[in-house]
Symmetry: D2
Subunit: 302 residues, 4 copies
Amino acid sequence: MGILRLSHLELRVADLELATAYYTEVVGLVEVERDDERVYLACWDEHDHHSLALHGHPSPGLDHVSFKVECDQDLDELETAAIHRGCHVRRLAAGEEVGQGPAIRVRSPSGHEVELVHVRTKTGGLLPRVNPAPEPPGLLGIHPPRLDHVQLTAEDVGGATAFFTAALGFRLTERLVGSGGSLLGSWLERSHTPNDVAILRGPNGGLHHVGFWVDDWDQVRRAADVLADNGVDIEAGPTRQGVTRSLGVHFFDPFGNRNEVFTGGYRPDPDDEPTTWTEDEIGRAFFHYQGRLDARFLAASD
Amino acid sequence: MGILRLSHLELRVADLELATAYYTEVVGLVEVERDDERVYLACWDEHDHHSLALHGHPSPGLDHVSFKVECDQDLDELETAAIHRGCHVRRLAAGEEVGQGPAIRVRSPSGHEVELVHVRTKTGGLLPRVNPAPEPPGLLGIHPPRLDHVQLTAEDVGGATAFFTAALGFRLTERLVGSGGSLLGSWLERSHTPNDVAILRGPNGGLHHVGFWVDDWDQVRRAADVLADNGVDIEAGPTRQGVTRSLGVHFFDPFGNRNEVFTGGYRPDPDDEPTTWTEDEIGRAFFHYQGRLDARFLAASD
Amino acid sequence: MGILRLSHLELRVADLELATAYYTEVVGLVEVERDDERVYLACWDEHDHHSLALHGHPSPGLDHVSFKVECDQDLDELETAAIHRGCHVRRLAAGEEVGQGPAIRVRSPSGHEVELVHVRTKTGGLLPRVNPAPEPPGLLGIHPPRLDHVQLTAEDVGGATAFFTAALGFRLTERLVGSGGSLLGSWLERSHTPNDVAILRGPNGGLHHVGFWVDDWDQVRRAADVLADNGVDIEAGPTRQGVTRSLGVHFFDPFGNRNEVFTGGYRPDPDDEPTTWTEDEIGRAFFHYQGRLDARFLAASD
Amino acid sequence: MGILRLSHLELRVADLELATAYYTEVVGLVEVERDDERVYLACWDEHDHHSLALHGHPSPGLDHVSFKVECDQDLDELETAAIHRGCHVRRLAAGEEVGQGPAIRVRSPSGHEVELVHVRTKTGGLLPRVNPAPEPPGLLGIHPPRLDHVQLTAEDVGGATAFFTAALGFRLTERLVGSGGSLLGSWLERSHTPNDVAILRGPNGGLHHVGFWVDDWDQVRRAADVLADNGVDIEAGPTRQGVTRSLGVHFFDPFGNRNEVFTGGYRPDPDDEPTTWTEDEIGRAFFHYQGRLDARFLAASD
């Protein structure tokens, strides 16, 4: 019946060892597997093979974003829908990507590599399935239980949004509308959260940030303490965002890929209208407390 | 596509005025409408007509639980499925129940009145749809943003669970298994949460508790402070539950209907296995900290 | 035995009605008394007449800071000590200032009006003395239980600090030392907290901020939500400060007097050494997470 | 000038290795030193040699409680005051007890061994004195920054309280008064907190609990998670106490010595009246939420 949720992201990082140290010891993900070119990481409460792949590459950014679909047939249907919209699509055979079965890769109108996959190796989370404690022992750093969302940049936010809604079946939860009526940002969901993917005006193919879930505002504070202890560049927060009603902190990995630790928000009902933010309130839309943005935040990760 | 989520509950309360005062001023719901026999209440972040109806009646308990379905056709399909399982079903015409269109009422094998409805009057939440603040002003008491779940009691938990999964399409997230292998409790979802409905061994047709969502552990503390200030009978908590990994507090309305304020938990993936709790860990399953239950908690509301 | 704690501050505000509305409805203090020129406010858990006096005056800033001493004799001893250091001192008769007995006013070397007083009218807090609830009902806005500290500015921080330690008996808990060895900031206590008064390099007679206590990090978040709801200019935070190890948010009253909501910190032992911050870590000293300061924060309130 | 604060407690534990494992790995104190009979532990933000000594001994309980005084002369003055009240006093030479100078031991009217000491070895906390982070790395378990208070039991609470106030200079912050007018409990301070020591009706010489400070309600939750993970017997909480307005959780070490993790409360002013609790509200005085006590809680540790 379509996309279930984010499957994984692949990020480009200039130094694979440093990136692995950062994402496992500071962010607190768990290394699942590695090969010559990539390291595969998962959060402790995720059950599929990995949610983040790090790819050694001189320029930072998002290699691809992958979504998991409910059944094999979804791959065919979504492939057809993408081709119908004029997107280039290619098939990946089972095993071509570590930890998963056959997949399709769609080049989105905004220049992002969007993957769809159904079969993924079940590695299981770190808790037992019988009488589990609330958290496994021995976690490091921030240790979010889950990857939450990805925010992309696109020159034409309206077009990029239409691809995600019309071709991939995403539902719009919030939108940021410019004074001239154009779409400056959109937040989209498939898994009953305020956003699985969001799009902000910026360069095509760009990554704004990768968002990891933590359980509450105190965990956001704790995340900020961990980041400061490790000398990480914290851009903004802890703060509240008007959009998604969430609480979080934004920071950068050692290569300039923006990360977020995120909590709160609301449970969006599929039968509700999206929320609209107007450009004159853009400060509050992103930083509810200070109510102002700097130019850096509006830029894609670098 | 089936059930979206809880629509509303109808509770029997001996004194409609006292009940309304309790649910609006202490729990902090908002009165939407009232007629001679009932008062209709909603949480501030809900958009349909009401999520709790109070019905003046000498004996407390659950009159019916209602679920919202995605489309009209779901009513026909679920009616057929229920009849197929030998359940008595009756149709309610549009307007027969305040704030909604046509509905069906199924008498479940466990003796609960289970309603399904598609069309409900959209009253909207208390926040504007453009540039909303994170919370509306002037709320009273605990003011949960949403009804979260209902826990029922049934003599045959296995049979009751099968009705919810096989006839209504619920997915099992957790289960409590007796030492002899019988099912003592089950937690079931349709809306991507640890439980929309749960079933605990107890009298047929019984209500264990009604669970309201709050945003975090500090709001659980605040809820407990509000309850203590109002002299409410707090049964247990603030505590963590092993089942659902949640944090909450259990208490009683003035008539003996058990309420819960609930937060935390996890985001259950539909492609994961349910978690199992064994009877020897029943204490921890419900009260992770003390690890012991008293007889009162195992009883239905009264 | 000397100074017990802060007694009260008097702030200049251009519009007494607007200031009263802000400090009672947004900050959430309680109006105790008013006369033609001043409004007297207290926090809900304070027992003396007032902790904040608002004085209608075109230019913002601190009129005077007042400390409560343990006994009458302290007034004489501290007067002698101040005169000894060359400070101008004058006596205020009982009743000359609302809600208190005789006082002395010392013009400090940094140009601040520092008052010492022993007898103050006991108005009591808002909780009963028998079987109190943890918080009184009906509070508005942020409603801090207490005034926590005041931060002053001085051109010669070393000299200003010496006055507070040598003449008034304050103890240094933390200090910020410039690369050339000069003192850029000092934090001083009499009441077993990280700071009752602090001094930052800036114009003589200046006010940096007034700090109100709240109970925890979640109350800091709640304070920021209240401020944003009321359109208050939030300068920085919620954040952690390296100095005092505290958590807080900085903002401005409608006239440019900087306020802070503050929590955390530690319990300083009088037999411990002060903590030292070096100028190269000044960013982290004030804003532990971002680790950088802007010029505005280093300025006195205006 | 008298007593500054708690110096340390010595507890009897049947198994010194098990006790050390519990207090370092679960409670999270740091081992400072050990000899044949005792292990000496400190919290990470304490600067003197130790705050908890564990003494191998078959029956659990409190060996002695030790307070630090401000100067040598205090020892003489407090010795005189104790002898004046008919207490047996003995002198300990420097080095007779590990990590400290000369001390006096007073047998209190309630049968407790109360030590007074001035000189203690400064071991320093775990944070540097220059540009410290808010918390040191590598802490285990709950890791409270400080010992907060000790609660004793006495048959004659009034007499025991008079000893602490009249002979040792403690100030009463709260009291629990029986329906017949007798004192059932008292809370006493020297260091500007709601209680450094408290006394509850019970056997002479008994220990009710040892209270460790944590920073907020979320740390209480975290402490309870750590305790549950380690299978510790959690008696009550997380909850709020009416007395001291605090939040905490009560539990037992492996030998039956009751521990508490404690936060919140208020800053007591020395010029305020004590708060009174009446016996009919004893439930709320200890457990504000449930409002009821069980017999176990009223018993001393065992």
